[in-house]
Symmetry: C2
């Protein structure tokens, strides 16, 4: 199988290299091909999602992405919108047809102390957030800034809602069977459609799933004050962006959080942390999230659960034995990666 | 001065009555006139914002609101959208021209243990969230659900952005002078306008304010993992809905959180908690947020800071001496209210 790697910006190249090292170890039959994305692609090719990268995706079995984007004051942010690093990322998601972004949020036993929450709240948290990734206010409809007025359109169709809801129900079937669908149906028509369609699909095809609906403002509170109440959360693109980042703080380090974006074709696997330009190139970034994204690639992208489990077990061990600086330890990227390789035996 | 009270639904009447009792004590010259809003108004008059209520507002110096809305499974939620309790609330905000919703989030010294955050993170948190309340995806532009497609329009104009930003800068001048403006400018044109206009206003008229811009997903993380970094946060309607509820969990009980909505005319003052239909009518609701909203009414609505301070000091004392059930204590609504009255001497 062929893996396209897209290291991207900031610490992306370092953490992607670490993940590739681990993948080579557990799956020697994989081949890797590196391509450009984001700000780095703009600098090299004048386009944050170059045609060469787009073409390469056609032959990919899975895509391993690093991170995309610059610092707040990066000159990239003054480019016309389509040339900015983030536009490359959005175009990549669209090109792959990855409509469902899966973000597991798990507090590892023994690592509760890293959480900003009280340990008794953090203990045992195990949430899967399924974020719709190709619709809503991100892509469709009218959008314009025109003198002193600007607007964007938030839009969803029933097929868009159903395909991502299916993914959430499917995932819940392998877990505790509970899905919370998040919307703002007391204000938005789009949410009314969302709620109606998710419920109808459940009633038609997933009777064994326990489904409830909550408002996004309420979920933002409850995910912090009572995170254990959630199993699978499914929501639209913008709410998912906010809630998945919010939930990601519970385990205490963004450096631990992988994600998988799935859809019609090859899946896209990436750490959820940003490009951290302040520490880029120093060899100290925590590669755990990238390595765990590689595990998700094996599981969801290639159907190799055993290898995925082996990586996840090794990462859990390495986190205890060689914690990186963001976790209060000493290990740099290389030391941590070696600890993972060693733990895999 | 004339106060219009709108007790609303659920525990709204109980907590509003408590707040009125306290107001009568510190400001005997106030007169009160009660009117209907929300689900209760729909039941009584077939309209969640009856004409009679609308007319009464013309003579109001300030408006004290309880809570609006029913349980998830309330029959109100199946009414046509304009008849639902929430539509009454939105219409009320619009009628009053209250474009800025101020929500102070303060962890009271000695009450850090109530926070879901570790005490060392909760200690000293003092944030003011300024939420734009009359624009964005809540009100303007095209909105429709049409067969299997639905859309809403998120829209802002420069004057809308400037008036709420002014309120934030003004508030920051009485505080630490730091404003964080929250947007999603890496994706939304509306956010690009927002960011541009907030920055321009700062550069033109508020040079002494330290202004920075952050993305909403990042703020959702940082408000939990490092809340002390924030002084004043200003943001658009939907982001403000989510972030202000999120921030409100930091002090540990929604029962403690007041809000003030200010604009062109009379201000609107309300607790941020919901209508809690499960405990309505039992006399056990915590009225602290309603009473503190009454304090905001005195300060921002009538310019009586001394009376406001007296109430806030008394509430802080009562919270320690007669905590309500949501705070792990025994006090019911009446006992707590009496403790506040007593503490005011
Ligand atoms: C960089 C940005 C466009 C992106 C998003 O909002 O989707 C990021 O925040 C994410 O969550 O992957
Ligand atoms: C009830 C609802 C319409 C309202 C809002 O979203 O503004 C509420 O959540 C609030 O924050 O006051």
């Amino acid at each position: 199988p062929k893996i396209i790697t897209l290291p991207g910006d900031g610490i992306g190249p370092e953490v992607t290299a670490a993940a590739v090292e681990v993948l080579r170890e557990v799956a020697p039959d994989l081949t890797f091909e590196e391509h450009a994305i984001g700000g780095a692609a703009y600098d090299a090719h004048g386009d944050p999602f170059p045609q060469r990268t787009r073409d390469a995706l056609e032959h990919a079995d899975a895509v391993l992405l690093g991170t995309v984007g610059g610092a707040q004051n990066s000159p990239w942010n003054s480019l016309p919108r389509p040339m900015r690093p983030e536009s490359g990322l959005l175009a990549l998601r669209k090109a792959l047809g990855c409509y469902a972004n899966l973000r597991p949020v798990r507090v590892q036993p023994g690592l509760e102390h890293l959480s900003p929450l009280k340990p008794e709240l953090a203990r045992g948290v195990d949430i899967l957030i399924v974020r719709e990734l190709l619709g809503g206010v991100y892509f469709d409809g009218d959008r314009k800034i025109d003198g002193d007025t600007a607007y964007n359109t938030m839009r969803y169709t029933t097929p868009e809602v159903e395909r991502v809801a299916k993914m959430a129900f499917w995932a819940a079937e392998q877990r505790k069977g509970r899905v919370t669908s998040v919307d703002k149906a007391n204000v938005l028509e789009v949410s009314e459609l969302w709620r109606r369609d998710v419920q109808a699909l459940r009633d038609r095809e997933y009777r064994s799933i326990h489904l409830n609906h909550e408002y996004v403002d309420s979920v933002a509170m409850l995910i912090v004050s009572d995170p254990s109440r959630y199993d699978v959360i499914v929501t639209e693109n913008l709410f998912g962006d906010i809630l998945s980042d919010l939930a990601a703080v519970i385990p205490g380090s963004l450096g631990l959080m992988p994600s998988a974006s799935l859809g019609d074709g090859a899946g896209l696997f990436e750490p959820i942390h940003g490009s951290a330009p302040d520490i880029a190139g120093k060899g100290i970034a925590n590669p755990a999230a990238a390595i765990m994204s590689a595990a998700m690639l094996l599981r969801h992208g290639l159907g190799r659960s055993d290898a995925a489990n082996a990586i996840e077990r090794a990462v859990a061990l390495a986190l205890r034995e060689e914690p990186t600086r963001d976790l209060g330890g000493q290990a740099d990227t290389k030391t941590f990666t070696n600890a993972v390789l060693e733990a895999m035996g």
